[in-house]
């Protein structure tokens, strides 16, 4: 995939978000001196190459009352991770689910699933559901609750010549 200088201008213009107006792509086009079709064609191309994953809202879990945030981590046999990871990721309360490398000897966990809830009890109940789903494929697990947000910024795209 490749993005050209116009794509880059478009990305920079949209980093803060899409204007919340009836015709947002036309509005962005106006600002950049493009046509609406140029904007939507470029956005469609960036979606097809994966530069844009989707155009959507980023919810603020804390503001929504989901103040308990647990990163559940699981040690699952490598041979079964694709199958089980997909099942865990499909649970409606799992917001992020990834296979990541182990860091042996102290970190045997290779499946990470983020779970949010209004209380830790709620998070624990959801964690138990994941444990049931994994069954005897689970060789070990842990949960890491977040206790403080230390930094949170969006993607910063540096300007290139």
């Amino acid at each position: 995939m490749s993005i050209d200088s116009t794509d880059r201008v478009l990305i920079e213009a949209l980093q803060g978000g899409l204007p919340l107006v009836p015709a947002p792509y036309a509005e962005v086009a106006d600002r950049l001196g493009l046509t609406e079709a140029e904007v939507t064609d470029r956005l469609a191309a960036m979606k097809s190459t994966g530069v844009i994953r989707r155009i959507a809202a980023a919810p603020n879990h804390y503001r929504l009352g989901m103040t308990a945030n647990g990163m559940t981590v699981w040690d699952v046999a490598d041979a079964r991770i694709a199958e089980l990871g997909a099942q865990v990721g499909a649970l409606p309360f799992v917001t992020h689910c990834y296979e990541r490398p182990r860091a042996l000897p102290n970190w045997p966990f290779n499946l990470f699933a983020m779970v949010h809830g209004e209380t830790r009890e709620e998070v624990e109940a959801k964690r138990a559901q994941i444990r049931d789903l994994l069954g005897d494929a689970r060789r070990g697990d842990d949960i890491l609750y977040s206790t403080r947000i230390l930094k949170k910024t969006g993607l910063r795209l540096r300007k290139r010549g």
Partner: protein, 150 residues
């Protein structure tokens, strides 16, 4: 009326689906919630202004633009926590950083413009803090989404 109400919550879920690249993309959402387009846009603006959504727009993938992301973790002694935090957060490559209740108590995401940037930045943090930076790049992604009870 207590906000966010049932309609706001249903909207919040709809807003996490991919917005179409059409001339009036919000009109279709409005129809699904039996709202007018202006009423829907008012609600989206309210959700954003009140901080229920931090942003509405394209989600860019730095990796697809040639950059890279990596989740990293450090076991920081309590007495050194603030000093290490200052050094870690000073780096623009550190996008998110969370304290977690665990021996590995500092978890942050590095976002760099090149894949090599991850190792360079993590190595630099190790040199500067004298602490090991464990690296957990994603090998497979299974799902990203979030649903509220609507």
């Amino acid at each position: 009326m207590i906000r966010p109400d049932k309609t706001d919550r249903a909207l919040l879920n709809l807003l996490q689906e991919d917005l179409p690249l059409t001339h009036r993309p919000f009109a279709a959402l409005a129809a699904r919630l039996e709202l007018t387009e202006p009423a829907l846009l008012d609600r989206v603006t309210w959700l954003r202004d009140e901080g229920y959504i931090t942003r509405f727009g394209p989600f860019f993938d730095a990796a697809a633009m040639g950059g890279a992301f990596c989740l990293c973790a450090m076991a920081v002694p309590a007495a050194d926590f603030d000093a290490v935090l200052t050094k870690v957060n000073a780096r623009p490559e550190v996008a998110h950083n969370y304290e977690r209740a665990h021996r590995l108590n500092m978890w942050f995401v590095l976002a760099t413009e090149t894949p090599e940037g991850i190792a360079q930045t993590a190595d630099a943090i190790e040199r500067e803090t004298g602490l090991k930076v464990l690296r957990f790049p994603k090998l497979q992604e299974f799902y990203i989404g979030f649903r509220v009870a609507a």
